[in-house]
């Protein structure tokens, strides 16, 4: 449910009371309504659902938590191959 994907704001379009933006998703650009994210600006990433931005991606928060995940991933690489580790028979 609720397919929302992140896109980058390329250009803001003030259309009277309705604020919209050209948002880039991978290789395509589409117009998105910014009615719910007045704080979003050029260069920001927003989560888009049915043509409306529902949140501004918190870049700092994402970076902070992702760094921790990356460290976890790096540590994992130093351990022996993942394949043999999952032993469902050990758990009930």
């Amino acid at each position: 449910m609720c397919l929302a994907i992140p896109g980058k704001i390329l250009e803001i379009q003030e259309m009277g009371p309705m604020r919209a933006a050209r948002v880039q998703f991978g290789g395509i650009v589409r117009q998105v309504s910014l009615s719910f994210v007045p704080e979003a600006g050029l260069g920001d990433y927003v989560m888009v659902h049915v043509g409306f931005a529902i949140s501004r991606v918190d870049a700092e928060e994402a970076e902070r938590t992702y760094k921790l995940l990356e460290e976890m991933g790096a540590l994992q690489e130093e351990l022996p191959a993942a394949e043999g580790q999952f032993r469902p028979d050990l758990w009930i």
């Binding site: 290789g27 395509i28 993942a82």
Partner: protein, 355 residues
């Protein structure tokens, strides 16, 4: 079980038994997936039985005085008629040429039949025909005969085109979808999803700023290059309606083998990827009109890949998977996480989703 209603007569509430029996044709019967296969299996095959038809390839290979000929027919009902990268005309030419090429045949001649709705604009017909002339000329084939029918306004959806093609199959070439063997490699000539997304974007007015262009193209030149290297190719198919998934599922079933794909090796353009993410579509099920899949013995996979990449229509070619003994009849895929999932046969058309 009962249903009570005080609503208007348009609502026919009946005992909610499953809508199981198909007594009418559905749109899904034309989408190249499960329903289409059922229609062929239940209605057409039993009626027209013969060994050539039983092969169920995209083209029929028959022998006339010792010379093998390939014959194929295809009808084009695409909406919109005109789209980035082509139109119903060029599609009709390329599509039939490709079905011949997938049989290893060198295409020679085409026939074309038009079914035109009364009131259709002459200017649009001219455009379509010009496009067909161009496509045929570029492919080196001639349109040698045709037919025209006009149907009453309201009975025809603008324009339908049927093309039938004939080609010759060289000595030593024997492609068939029941020949895949465990260990064989699966080659894909380039990016997936371009055509289907281009059509969808145009038809639904999706207004992607970056134009997604259909990959509609004639593949026999690429096939000829590959055959120059080796005839040792099990089969070829162009993954049109139903996408790469439908094509590979058919081959897996016809050959009684399993197919394992590597998700990370699937070539896909950024724009198509973005569009698929946005619409919730899986590119494996999206139509392609200028791509081929070749199942080849492992020994020749690398040299064929090199050859494909030297041809303009194969520049982005990849080896996308392997034929296996395990999971016969099924297509599975190793995800980027190293896990395995099933790539099921599509039932009906893929619909964009919000969920």
């Amino acid at each position: 079980m009962s249903a009570k209603s005080t609503v208007d007569r348009n609502l026919e509430l009946s005992c909610p038994a499953p809508i199981a029996v198909k007594d009418t044709i559905l749109l899904g019967h034309g989408s190249g997936g499960k329903l289409s296969a059922e229609l062929i299996r239940d209605i057409f095959l039993p009626a027209f039985q013969n060994p050539v038809l039983a092969h169920m390839d995209d083209q029929a290979i028959v022998s006339v005085n010792g010379q093998r000929l390939a014959i194929t027919t295809d009808s084009f009902v695409v909406k919109p008629l005109f789209f980035p990268g082509g139109d119903i005309g060029s599609l009709a030419v390329h599509g039939t040429l490709n079905d011949l090429a997938m049989g290893g045949a060198t295409p020679l001649f085409l026939s074309v039949a038009f079914i035109i709705e009364e009131g259709f604009a002459m200017e649009e017909l001219r455009r379509v025909v010009a496009s067909m002339r161009q496509a045929a000329a570029a492919a080196g084939v001639q349109i040698v005969t045709g037919d025209t029918k006009v149907v009453e306004k309201g009975k025809g959806d603008g324009l339908f085109i049927n093309t039938t093609g004939i080609g010759v199959v060289p000595e030593g070439v024997d492609f068939s979808a029941d020949q895949a063997r465990p260990g064989d490699k699966i080659l894909l000539s380039g990016s997936i999803g371009d055509h289907g997304i281009a059509i969808l974007a145009q038809r639904e007015g999706l207004e992607f700023e970056t134009q997604i262009i259909s990959d509609s193209a004639a593949l026999h030149g690429l096939v000829a290059e590959m055959l120059r290297v080796t005839c040792d190719i099990r089969c070829m198919r162009d993954p049109t309606r139903g996408g790469v998934s439908s094509t590979l599922n058919e081959i897996a079933q016809q050959s009684g083998v399993g197919i394992e794909l590597q998700e990370s090796s699937l070539p896909i353009h950024e724009e198509v990827k973005g569009a698929c993410e946005l619409l919730g579509l899986d590119p494996l099920y999206v139509a392609n009109e200028g791509k081929l899949i070749a199942i080849v013995p492992a020994e020749v996979a690398d040299v064929l890949l090199e050859t494909m990449r030297r041809h303009p229509l194969g520049a982005e070619a990849q080896i996308i998977g392997t034929v296996t003994k395990k999971n016969p009849g099924l297509v599975t895929m190793r995800t980027p996480l190293g896990t395995t999932r099933v790539v099921d046969m599509l039932a009906g058309d893929q619909l964009p989703r919000i969920c």
